[in-house]
Subunit: 341 residues, 2 copies
Amino acid sequence: MLNGRTPSVKDVAAAAGVSLGTVSNVMNRPEVVSARTRERVERAMSELGFVRNESARQLRAGTSRTLAYVMLDGTNPFFHDVAQGIEMAAEDADLSLFICNSNSRAAREAVHVDRLLQQRVQGILITPVDPSASYLDELARRGVPMVIVDRVRDGESCCSVAVDDVLGGRIAVEHLVEQGHTRVAVIGGPESIGQVRERLQGAREIWAELGLPPDDLVYLPTENLTVAEGRSAGERLAGLPARRRPTAAFCANDLLALGLLQQGIGAGIRVPDDLAIVGFDDIDFAAAAAVPLTSVRQPRQELGRAAAQLVLDEATNPDHRHQQLSFTPELVARASTAVRR
Amino acid sequence: MLNGRTPSVKDVAAAAGVSLGTVSNVMNRPEVVSARTRERVERAMSELGFVRNESARQLRAGTSRTLAYVMLDGTNPFFHDVAQGIEMAAEDADLSLFICNSNSRAAREAVHVDRLLQQRVQGILITPVDPSASYLDELARRGVPMVIVDRVRDGESCCSVAVDDVLGGRIAVEHLVEQGHTRVAVIGGPESIGQVRERLQGAREIWAELGLPPDDLVYLPTENLTVAEGRSAGERLAGLPARRRPTAAFCANDLLALGLLQQGIGAGIRVPDDLAIVGFDDIDFAAAAAVPLTSVRQPRQELGRAAAQLVLDEATNPDHRHQQLSFTPELVARASTAVRR
DNA sequence: TTGTATGCGTTATCAA
DNA sequence: TTGATAACGCATACAA
């Protein structure tokens, strides 16, 4: 009767000697069916090894039970922490989370989003390669619940959750100046990445406001935000003439900072005595570094959690209004900028 | 006519003035429809913003286009690298990848697997909390394509892809002995984790084979495989009387090694001069540490890729036979065990 | 409290 | 080359 097919409600109904509707009720409104028949149905289910077909459920019910996050860079633990926050919120709402990774490639991102649309996910959380890409507008117009994570989008076509990156850059450099540094390196790139642009901007702003000479804030551009680029920046730093060489560095993210630290220690530079270092994100590996890294902390899991809540609100609340949530970054001072007295 | 509904094939057909079957053909067998009508249909699709409903497709076609990976510990980059390998294989096969994280909790793992079954994923890749759990057998009996990743399962009820952890432990300790160490610490736990148990076992085996006194191989158990536990082990190590204190340590994974390194450097211990360190996994952060870590390399992405290929074979090839793939680990020597001459 | 009937959006078979 | 139609497995409105 089953011929190796996976059993359906119909089979369960037959086995339990009830109608198909009753089986459905056992799953979706158990309170409406008598204890006796419910038990019979449940036994039939487990005997047959019945597993509800989610596609059919979704097709009929018109609503899926999954959220999706398209992350920007799977090699950066920061995004996994954000994903973890989303996952927790999804778990609370009894939803599954689909995690995709664009690896900073717009084409891959588009493929993922297209698939997610086909899956009719309840909502899409995304850290886009390019937040101003027009197809995001189209998504929003289509009515697909969507939240931009770790970026703000011009206009108010959708919700977004981010950290004030300009402020983050400011507090990082302010901290270094407070520690007595008067020549500071700013490391990061490419500036096409919004997060980078704003963090550097914050650094320059505060430097100017404090009345320090522009030439003493040395910008070392990088090609991306990786440990390898951090090492490379360290080499360039070491190559500067001693009188111009900064005594402290602000890196646009922790991976760069880790690379800088590694290169420095390998070259016999003492951190923080010869070179103080501030990173950004405060990933777990920052605190775990040989010289624990001072970093600008983003509430990574909170970011994800808040984004998930916004997308769920958009998906379920008819009175939903788009919001731009901005979290305040926080400096976590550790050994890499400590002043020895 | 649409009233805010998302458009279906029916709507596209109406807009293009063709039948519903023709629209389906445009999507699935474009070669069978004339260029003229195909173009008309395609225009109608983009004008309406039609997106195929994957649930309906799957319900009808009976086959999903997704793979799933249930990872053991999202805080360990190792598993993300494995996932990346799976993702690449999935991309090649034009499949999506569903990533779940059990966080080492059996209950959470069960919830995930249950959901994946409901989704009728094509195959499940899993690094299980307990590879001997009976419900895995049940999955296999049910005929759900499944591959165990980073573990081997007794019997041959399913495929598995792993690294020879015993051998890994052997080459790690052998390397330390070759470097001249005669008192070595072995750090890791809990032994309920198979990977840990076997790595430690390999360490003990080679130690005995080399004819070294058992007492000179000091076991420092940990509660889990985290950076924090690595630090804690470092403190215990430092607390040993100098004459008994090991001059080298083999850690059951890189997170422990990173923690040990951090604690050591913070306490003024020179690595490798006072203490040599070998980790396991060779995650990217091992090479990026202040003192680059020697580590037993697992082919992380290859592991994932191979697992994905096996599960796809099981899903599509009627002559599939279960295999236990075992990769050979490889020692990557770096500064943390270098001998100064 | 339970049963019956209908349709969700798609693919595939068959006829035209 | 195109059109009509029958499933796929489930949820739900309504009847009993």
